[in-house]
């Protein structure tokens, strides 16, 4: 009792082969697109690698690139199979490789679905990684003389200017960190000494932010220092001033940016899943139709194509017994060693017998 049987005439088989050839080349193209999407995403993540603490999120572009390349190869193979399907001398050599092809194709579809799921699931991990990375960036902002950290200042400044953000959660993160290096502080000045003594760690903290937090759209020239002191500036109210600095935190800005990027790749990935599934189903129909026609010894005549030879349950049972037999071959069983190999032979004979009446 076959699953989803369809009758195929010779002409229909030819049309199917031609259509599938075109579809598989389209799938090759889409595989290339997916690969380049993966490369682009990875490049964007690597550009900001300095403000990320871990690379867990890199699994998304890595899988995309892998799947893209694998998709190109498998669909190219599918197009070769289509070309050979109309030639009864060349088609039989594809019998065993096709089983492997179906398995690989199914794995690719699963991986693509996994990518879509991961890109949402890893958002929390990305935020955490950015939180730690940005915190370190802000902490080491002043260390422009320490090897390995001397470019943190420039990185954070450019990041804040490009993504229109300030600090980790907001600009107040800069109040908790000493972002002016001791090299530029006059320790004989009273103001500096007061500030250093005002906290336990002896850090020079101020209610000021670096210039890269300034918002160019503000109508007023940027106020960067004494931000919490309304009297320090004319006509200034700290609570109601909105446009002076960027109000968004860089963690939020970067997370939004990467989520947007991954959402944009979503439709592409979903369409590749559909295309791959259609190639898989069409190839299965083509394979069964051509094989049935060859078995009936009338390559030009009508034949039936189906998805599964037996029903779903029976096919799963068959697969289970096959898997167990293969496992039994591997097991060392001295008592029943000869007996098991004989049993396996009998099973193999039994396996060969059923396909003929069914087809």
């Amino acid at each position: 009792m076959v699953l989803l049987k369809i009758k195929f005439t010779q002409q229909r088989r030819v049309h199917l082969a031609q259509g599938l050839w075109l579809l598989s080349w389209m799938a090759v193209l889409w595989g290339g697109v997916i690969f380049f999407l993966g490369v682009y995403l990875k490049t964007e993540l690597l550009r900001r690698a300095e403000v990320m603490d871990n690379t867990e999120i890199h699994v998304v572009p890595n899988i995309l690139m892998m799947v893209g390349l694998a998709s190109i190869c498998t669909n190219w193979v599918a197009s070769r199979v289509c070309q050979d399907s109309m030639d009864s001398t060349r088609f039989p050599r594809w019998k065993v490789p096709l089983l492997a092809w179906f398995a690989v194709s199914a794995v690719l579809c699963c991986l693509l679905i996994a990518v879509v799921v991961l890109s949402y699931a890893l958002q929390g991990s990305l935020e955490q990684s950015l939180k730690v990375g940005l915190r370190n960036g802000i902490r080491f902002y002043k260390d422009t003389d320490v090897p390995g950290r001397c470019f943190q200042k420039e990185t954070i400044d450019r990041l804040q200017m490009e993504f229109l953000c300030c600090g980790n959660d907001n600009f107040k993160d800069w109040f908790e960190v000493q972002w002016v290096s001791n090299r530029y502080l006059d320790f004989t000045s009273k103001d500096v000494k007061d500030r250093i003594r005002s906290n336990v760690d002896g850090r020079y903290l101020l209610d000021g932010v670096p210039f890269s937090c300034c918002n160019p759209t503000s109508p007023r020239p940027c106020l960067r220092y004494h931000l919490t002191d309304n009297n320090a500036h004319f006509s200034y109210d700290y609570q109601s001033e909105e446009l002076n600095l960027y109000s968004r935190g860089c963690r939020q800005a970067l997370t939004d940016y990467y989520m947007e990027l991954m959402n944009a790749t979503g439709p592409g990935v979903v369409s590749v899943i559909f295309i791959q599934l259609s190639v898989l189903l069409s190839l299965r129909y083509l394979q069964t139709a051509v094989e049935t026609a060859m078995v009936l010894e009338d390559p030009e005549g009508d034949s039936e194509g189906y998805l599964l030879e037996k029903g779903v349950k029976e096919t799963i049972e068959d697969l289970k017994t096959n898997a167990l037999t293969i496992l039994k071959f591997g097991q060392v069983d001295p008592d029943a060693a000869e007996g098991s190999s004989e049993a396996a032979d009998i099973e193999k004979d039994e396996k060969d017998a059923p396909p003929t009446p069914a087809s």
Binding site: K153, P210, P216, S235
Partner: protein, 341 residues
Amino acid sequence: MAFMPVKFNLQKRVKLAQGLWMIYWLSVIVGILLFGLGIFFKIELRKRSEMMDNNESHLVPNLLILVGSLACGLNAFGGKVCHDSLDPIKFAKWKPMLKPFLLLCCGFNALLLLTALLCFLMQFAVYLTLAEGLKNSIKFYKDTDTPGRCFMKRTLDMTQIEFRCCGNNNFRDWFEVQWISNRYLDMSNDLVKDRVLSNVEGKYLMDSVPFSCCNPGSPRPCIQHHLTNNSAHYDYDHRIEELNIWTRGCREALFYYFSSIMNSIGVLIIGTIILESVDMAGLKYLTTALDTMEDPENPECESDGWLLEKGVKETMGELFAKMKTLGKTNQVVEGEDAPEG
């Protein structure tokens, strides 16, 4: 005695037609590229038009767009002619149009030459417009409450950040202008009153620059205010400090940007002129080769192709004579007037 004659047999003619067809389609692509570059240049000029006082000349991008579309049209027609050239029936209907087409191509080449010259010469105009426009931009930086100028501050800030420049010639241009609006100045403060009274026009001048002049690559947090006062900052000498703010002027930065665009477009146009000349030469050879076939019914026969029917001097002489007769038909010749009148 023809100018640069070449003998053609059937195979050579076929190869010439095919090669010429491909070169024509390459020229169509180059035409599309010129069109795209014209649009790109126009958009760039629009984007920076506030820096140029909205006064910039769009002659070059408009000409590029025109030339690009003309190139597409002419070369597509040429490609079609080549495609039909080996079929005598189809070619017969294109034959009468070929001479005017070649003349049109000559005129088009002259237009391309003019455009290339303009690309190189208009850079002076861009430089002068930038100088004037930036001076005004810096003057109107503070006018964020004046309609029509309220975005000048944002535009100038973003330009200085993007092009890594400060001021017109250099950062000192900011010292000569009041760039803080009076709305944000406490006129009752003594310091403010001193500064305002210190100059004839009553402007609040300072030795400070806006934040957009700051260089992120400086190891030190940006020093924007009291730039010429060494004692205002710890361990600071304004004469040797180089990395604190951008040292380049925005006029130089913007001019460099636009001139590199215009130079590349100019070079591309010169390449297009050479390509068009090759097209014209090829088409002339093809048409003459097809015309001089001794036996039109026999495609295998040999024929001659040339660029000019007579030598260069003779062709020039004939052209001048033609132009003289053209001029003479409009002149009133005294002797003949009476019988007609």
